[in-house]
């Protein structure tokens, strides 16, 4: 070729098929590092060295196009949105890859899909949006972390929550609250700040995160500025949330009659000493309290975000402020977040670039007291969800003189001649008590990147993630919660700090025109420290005081904790493709983690994958299949990753703990460690294919996966008489998840005025335990953990899926006598007459039915989950509807046992069908006061197990984008108004408020239980997005 020193200028405009300019399109000269990007108007201008032959245009969401330069001075380019979904960039851990080149199983959710949803944390809006991703909103308590599972439940004792990596830094997950308010760590991210969420599901995609990858890895990328002038945008919505599908309860008259009938049936009714009676209220009419009205409310919420962003040739910035104030459906349950995010990237010179991120959020999570809905709270005596159900409707929270109706901590009985007709008075609790958690969360990082050669990059990234939790509880001495303790206050401060330093060297090289190689090598150093301390005080010295700083006579330290852990890693990746046809990649990571056993800290994790883009083969074209399939890629991967999420800092140590004996110091043997403890190992296989048909108007991905988990960590209880203080964590169990996933994206109609996009995904998963520890035939877990053994309704046993229901079988109600028929462990029918009379059918005495008569029942893990989303646009209108569903699972509706309890508890109206005379065919046993066996309050019965299958209209949004003519007049760049509904309708046969439920949060071993929880709300929002 000619040696010429001259350059010349080429200009042009890049447009989309409809003629609108595409900003930020990369225009580069093939085989060199020279290039530029188009401006806001789609126009570019660049100097091209003589001899340059080919220009490559590429824009996010558009297909790459190569054009030969020739002697042209103006090259305009119309980019097609051809293989839309395959051309995107995905985050793969320590870098990005083009989706079409990725061979791992990755799903992407874009920011706009979640940014305007009325949720506290972004992941709560992910349900139904990606195959293999299960999100279940446990209940209506604000900021309670959703159940988040990728490809099933992958651990029993450790966490099944995926690793969340935000802008390169693995962050804290879970509930950091020490109070009755939820405090999901991920709520610190303003959803409006999220550019995209990439979900790595198989070993190929996740293995680069080694010992933390078993549950999948979720990469969150926050927004950066886009080339062009500064943009200012405002997003805001206001929403209204109401509880829905609350059980229908007895009113005061029905309650009084029903309970009196119960007393008569029990033979204990006494017209002077033992009866139920109405009480007249201040208006002279009998009191008839609807307790729902005192506990629930219509929550009003609003959310506001303002961002300023932009980019020049060398600088790219994004700055945002957010404020949200959300009210839950339970009174006093509020969430407020103030957040700020600043992202900047600066090119210093041709080689060096640098950048930083600073985000800070302050989240205040408010609650008055226990809702009874967070993990561990289900039997909280004053649980607000429960109190609203069981308190007698015939009493009022207030006496007729306006004072609180309370007696010795319990709500007063008024005219009822009973010792008790409710638990705590919820009005006192709501008026006087607080249980709040404030989180201050800083996530920041800075990097420097050196690119001495176009194919060689060195990057050093240092990041911090500091989460401070400030918990404050106050319980007034007249409230039920603190009546016994004569006032109670507790404050606990928790500090969680993480620093991560990552150094990577990467090479992207193409040679011999068809061979493309990417190499990555890195080391990472991560230290996490935690510290907590608190004070609890009781016996208030004067009712004037209402905080921890006031006067109390009993003081105790609480929540003392301190610890740290350290993770040191070396990792590498190799990607190779030949002619964009054959793809190979390998990931390798060595992790060394301080929390593991002394000899088992270091381990190697890896994943390999291959892909084959068949459409590039000549036989494909010659066979004419390309007329149907515009793309078709086969892929497969295999690898080994681990799980350490949930292993505490010092599990390998046996330790002595300090204590007191009569005020004097003690050091007692308190914990047996396991010096051989190591990570759970997950061997993941994934095969699948992606294809596009009709020029990628329809794209689909299908995968089959299998995840074999070995060395499952279980808390292995030792023989009790050995006297070992704790169940020792040991790697013993194994289980698998296998399944099939499918996602289909279709641009059904692409008209000038009308478009219709549809997205459907489904995942079928099977979970089975294959082994537990020797001498540990099964694991029975109570709900919640630590509850009475009578509440143990979940069993995890080889041959079954995790957390299978374990309940006593029953055979209905005997039409002759109205007694519940139980089936005991010997398969004999046992009839129960309250109190205490257990008989066989022949009338002979039978041993009492107890938890030993439980049987393994149905699975709680859904067999199929999915989502179906449709987006219609007509001119400036847009309608989006998302349906989600879960199928093939059962729920233990424990709340129903309480709703049918024949003690003083208020009941659901269904009890009015109770058996009354011989011949009655009913499922509701004879109403005998005091009976808590026949309806399952005292012992768990299969009558409360229901199919949980549901289809939910999760979200509908109707939006209107102001036409350009108007926007221009008011000097805006965009304006969008919308009205949106969340959780609008549920199609289900489940009788409880919401089959998407989890009393025990993310705990897998006792999932699928709905016990005394507050319902999920239905939300309607009105929103506005403005671009200046």
């Amino acid at each position: 070729c000619l040696l010429q020193a001259q350059t010349r200028t080429i200009t042009g405009k890049v447009t989309s098929p409809d003629g609108s300019p595409i900003p930020n399109t990369s225009v580069r000269i093939k085989g060199t590092g020279y290039g530029t990007t188009t401006g806001f108007d789609g126009i570019y201008s660049m100097n091209v060295p003589a001899g340059s032959r080919v220009l490559i245009f590429s824009a996010v969401g558009m297909g790459d196009v190569e054009v030969s330069i020739g002697d042209k001075a103006v090259i305009n380019m119309k980019l097609e949105v051809a293989d839309r979904s395959l051309s995107e960039v995905v985050v793969v851990g320590y870098g990005t890859q083009r989706r079409r080149e990725a061979t791992g199983s990755l799903s992407t959710v874009k920011g706009p899909a979640i940014s305007d949803k009325p949720v506290q944390s972004f992941e709560a809006a992910l349900g139904g949006r990606a195959p293999g991703v299960q999100i279940s909103i446990p209940n209506g308590v604000l900021n309670n972390p959703p159940v988040f599972r990728i490809r099933g439940t992958n651990s029993i004792s450790l966490s099944s929550y995926p690793l969340i990596v935000i802008d390169g830094i693995p962050t804290f997950t879970g509930d950091f609250s020490g109070t009755s308010a939820g405090a999901n760590a991920l709520a610190s991210i303003n959803p409006s700040d999220i550019e995209s969420i990439d979900i790595a599901k198989d070993a190929a995609a996740s293995a680069i995160y080694g010992s933390r990858a078993a549950n999948g890895v979720v990469f969150v990328t926050t927004k950066k500025g886009k080339q062009g002038r500064a943009r200012v945008s405002y997003d805001g919505w206001v929403g209204y949330t109401k509880a829905q599908r609350l059980p229908d309860l007895l009113n005061a008259q029905e309650y009084t009659d029903f309970k009196n009938q119960g007393l008569k049936n029990a033979g204990t009714y006494n017209a002077t000493t033992n009866y139920f009676a109405l009480t007249d209220g201040p208006d002279g009419n009998p009191i008839n309290t609807r307790w729902y009205d005192h506990v629930y409310r219509t929550g009003v919420s609003h959310n506001n975000s303002i961002s300023v962003s932009g980019a020049t040739e060398n600088t790219n910035y994004y700055f945002s402020l957010g404020y949200t104030n959300q009210q839950g459906i339970i009174k006093k349950n509020d969430f407020r977040r103030k957040s700020v995010l600043f992202n900047i990237d600066q090119k210093v010179n041709r080689i060096i670039s640098t950048g930083a991120k600073l985000s800070y959020s302050n989240e205040e999570n408010f609650a008055a007291a226990s809702s009874g809905s967070l993990p561990g709270e289900a039997f909280a005596t004053g649980g607000l969800g429960r109190v609203a159900l069981i308190t007698a409707p015939s009493i009022s929270p207030y006496n007729n003189d306006g004072t609180y109706n309370t007696s010795a901590g319990l709500i007063g009985v008024m005219n009822n001649k009973q010792s008790q007709v409710g638990f705590y008075n919820p009005i006192i609790t709501l008026d006087r008590n607080r249980s709040n958690t404030e989180i201050n969360h800083v996530q920041a990082n800075g990097y420097i990147q050196l690119k001495p050669l176009s194919w060689l990059t060195f990057k050093s990234l240092y990041g911090i993630d500091y989460l401070y939790a400030d918990n404050k509880i106050y319980q007034d001495p007249i409230s039920g919660e603190a009546y016994a303790t004569i006032g109670f206050a507790q404050s606990v401060l928790g500090k969680n700090k993480r620093s991560v330093w990552t150094n990577t060297l990467s090479i992207d090289y193409e040679f011999a025109s068809n061979h493309s190689v990417g190499l990555l090598a890195g080391i990472e150093d991560q230290r996490t420290t935690g510290e907590g301390f608190g004070l609890s005080r009781q016996s208030i010295s004067d009712p004037y005081f209402s905080n921890i700083q006031g006067g109390f006579t009993v003081n105790n330290p609480v929540a003392l904790s301190i610890g740290s852990n350290y993770l040191y890693s070396q990792f590498g990746r190799i990607n190779y493709n030949f002619g964009k046809k054959y793809y190979l990649s390998g990931n390798l990571r060595q992790d060394e983690y301080s929390g593991l056993g002394f000899n088992k800290r270091k381990g190697l994790f890896w994943g390999v994958s291959a892909g084959w883009e068949i459409t590039k083969e000549s036989f494909w074209t010659s066979a004419g299949i390309n007329k149907i399939f515009s793309s078709f890629k086969l892929r497969g991967s295999y690898g080994k990753v681990g799980n350490i999420n949930g292993i505490n800092n010092y599990e390998s140590y046996s330790t002595y703990s300090p204590g007191l004996y009569g005020g004097l110091a003690t050091i007692g043997y308190a914990r047996s460690g396991n010096p051989d403890l190591t990570w759970e190992t997950s061997n993941k296989t994934d095969v699948g294919f992606n294809f596009g048909i009709l020029e990628d108007r329809i794209t689909a991905e299908l995968s089959y996966y299998r995840n074999n988990i070995d060395g499952l960590i279980l808390d292995v209880t030792q023989v009790p008489s050995a006297g070992i203080p704790n169940a020792i964590r040991t790697n013993v169990g194994s289980m698998y998840n296998k399944g099939f996933e499918m996602g289909i994206n279709a641009m059904v109609i692409q008209g000038k005025d009308f478009t219709w996009d549809a997205y459907f995904n489904l995942s079928i998963n099977k979970n089975e335990i294959t082994a537990l520890a020797p001498g540990l035939p099964f694991i029975i877990v109570t709900s919640p953990a630590g509850a009475s053994t009578n509440e143990a309704v979940s069993i995890t046993q080889p041959g079954y899926s995790i957390g299978t229901l374990y309940l006593i079988p029953t055979k209905g109600v005997d039409p002759a006598t109205g007694r519940r028929i139980f089936v005991n462990a010997q398969d004999r029918d046992v009839y129960y007459a309250h109190p205490g009379q257990w008989q066989y059918a022949d009338g002979s005495a039978a041993p009492a039915i107890s938890t030993t008569d439980r049987r393994i029942q149905k699975n709680t893990v859904p067999k199929q989950i999915g989502g179906f989303e449709n987006t219609f646009t007509y001119k400036n209108f847009e309608l989006n509807a998302l349906l989600t569903y879960q199928l093939g699972f059962h729920i233990y509706y424990g709340t129903e046992a309480g709703l049918r309890d024949y003690r003083f508890w208020n009941n659901e109206r269904a009890v009015l069908n109770a058996w009354t005379k011989a011949g009655d065919i009913t499922d509701m046993p004879k109403n005998v006061f005091g009976d808590n066996y026949s309806n399952g309050s005292a012992i768990p019965l299969d009558v409360h197990m229901y199919k949980g299958d549901f289809l939910k209209l999760r979200n509908v949004t109707l939006a209107y984008n102001l036409p350009k003519s108007i926007i221009d007049k008011v000097k805006l760049s965009s304006a969008r108004f919308y009205v949106s509904g969340q959780n609008l309708y549920i199609w289900t046969k489940y009788p409880g408020p919401d089959p998407e439920t989890s009393t025990n949060g993310n705990n897998p071993a006792n999932q699928g239980i709905d016990r005394n929880q507050v319902a999920n709300g239905r939300t309607v929002t009105l929103g506005l997005k403005l671009g200046l």
């Binding site: 703990s657 004996y661 007692g668 308190a670 292995v716 030792q718 023989v719 009790p720 008489s721």
Partner: protein, 482 residues
């Protein structure tokens, strides 16, 4: 690159296993921790006493709450019930802590504290271990008289367990376990300090000394119906004539206090041979739903400090106005509530939340009554000293009643009077069920407003507790009670 010091991070708020024998103070702290696990609210700091009282006819269940002993009260326990598993676990935890300590002393501790202190400490640990075994026998094993100790006792473990291992072990016979108890108490008697000092009233009550071992032996031998041994042991710490006191010097000068009510407010008098101290600091008191006052004292609206879980049974000892007249000071412990429907509660334990009453293990009055009973049973006569001992206990609370030998037509009459005195004197102190069982008496029937509980004959399966289901599940060599 890797920072090795961070990789070797050690806990800072707990002490790793091998670092607890470096100083004498550390070892004393470990000794006190043995008491702490023994006084856990699931064991002797609360529930052990409560279960042994509510099994009997003296108490009525008020709350029908399954987590506060309902099934113990109404004799419907099964292996899986929480109290059966909870007490078993905590009892053996206390035992294993003693074993771990004893192993550690042999291996390292003796060298640190020297031989003589080491013997003191070893004796303390053995006393707690032995007595904990005795406690578990009272609920989980048949009484000694049934087969003379040949029935299944407990898995007998006398070395420490720390790591995960195969801990299968069959139950030793009752006699074998009692032999270990006696052996531990004998060692304790020989090696414990005689006293912690004449001014160390608190330690003399809350740490065990020579007299504690002797006093506990009177209880153990009484359970075995070895009355001669009861007399031998009691005579070591009871003078031959009134006022009956412990006069061996050096040694703690045990004696009855003039006012019984003071014994339950001033916890460290010489009457309280061994009590478990409580403070308001969390972890240093029995904890939620384990406290004596929480169970027995009525709600504050009724003038109590507790939750009124159990009321006194009017057909129990409190209804016996002849044997227990109103003039008796101990009637002050019975609190009457209500006007039309009266209820009676025990207010012996009266410290409010967080319930810091010391929990009695053994008081001097029991040694006197046990000695009296043993004398009558071994002589089978209306023994004059036995009557004097009975009077010592009765007269300090009711000066109006002094028994004479003429009051008793037979030895049986005198024994019955002593047994009634025990019911009055130790109401709420966990003695009633062991007293019924050691003598093979039927547990009487009882009725509350909500239910009636049948009598439990000595042949009934519910006469003793079933074995922990967790133990049976994991220890295949352990058999259940039949």
């Amino acid at each position: 690159c890797k920072r090795d010091s961070l990789m070797d991070t050690k806990p800072t708020s707990d002490i790793p296993d091998l670092s607890v024998y470096s100083t004498k103070e550390q070892i004393v702290n470990q000794i006190r921790a043995l008491y702490s696990s023994f006084k856990n609210g699931q064991f002797h700091g609360g529930r052990f006493l409560i279960y042994n009282d509510i099994r009997s006819e003296e108490f009525l269940n008020e709350k029908t709450n399954g987590v506060t002993g309902l099934q113990t009260w109404n004799h419907t326990l099964t292996n899986t019930v929480a109290e059966v598993n909870g007490l078993w676990a905590q009892g053996f935890l206390a035992i294993n802590n003693c074993n771990i300590f004893l192993d550690g002393m042999a291996e390292k501790g003796t060298a640190v504290v020297g031989d003589s202190l080491s013997k003191n400490y070893t004796a303390e640990a053995r006393l707690i271990r032995g007595y904990a075994y005795y406690c578990l026998l009272q609920l989980y094993a048949r009484p000694y008289w049934d087969g003379n100790g040949t029935k299944p006792g407990l898995p007998l473990r006398i070395s420490g367990n720390k790591l995960r291992a195969d801990y299968q072990l069959a139950r030793s016979s009752i006699a074998e376990v009692y032999a270990q108890v006696i052996s531990d108490l004998n060692y304790a008697e020989a090696n414990l300090p005689k006293t912690y000092g004449s001014s160390a009233a608190e330690l003399n009550t809350t740490r065990v000394h020579r007299n504690t071992a002797i006093a506990l032996k009177t209880r153990v031998y009484l359970s075995m119906q070895k009355y001669a041994e009861v007399i031998t042991e009691a005579n070591k710490i009871v003078t031959a004539s009134a006022p009956f006191t412990a006069t061996v010097t050096p040694g703690v000068a045990h004696a009855l206090q003039p006012d019984i009510t003071k014994v339950f407010t001033t916890y460290n008098t010489t009457e309280s041979i061994f009590s478990l101290p409580m403070t308001s600091t969390t972890g240093d008191n029995p904890g939620t739903q384990n406290q004596l006052a929480y169970y027995y004292s009525p709600a504050s609206s009724l003038g109590g400090v507790g939750n009124g879980e159990y009321a006194l049974n009017i057909t129990g000892i409190i209804g016996n106005n002849i044997a227990w007249p109103a003039t008796d000071k101990r009637r002050d412990f019975v609190k009457t509530t209500g006007t039309t429907t009266k209820k009676y509660f025990l207010s012996k334990f009266s410290a409010p939340s967080p319930y810091t009453d010391y929990v009695p293990v053994i008081r001097y009055s029991e040694v006197l009554l046990s000695l009296a009973e043993a004398r009558v049973r071994s002589t089978n006569s209306v023994d004059a000293q036995a009557v004097a001992l009975l009077n010592a206990v009765r007269n300090r609370s009711d000066a109006t009643k002094t028994f004479t030998t003429g009051d008793f037509a037979s030895a049986t009459d005198l024994i019955n009077a002593i047994l009634i005195e025990r019911r009055i004197e130790f109401l709420g102190e966990g003695r009633r069920s062991p007293d019924l069982l050691r003598l093979g008496l039927t547990i009487p029937a009882k009725s509350s407003t909500s239910s009636s509980v049948p009598a439990i004959a000595p042949t009934d399966k519910q006469y003793i507790w079933p074995i922990s289901s967790t133990e049976l599940d994991l220890n295949k060599l352990c058999e259940d009670n039949k």
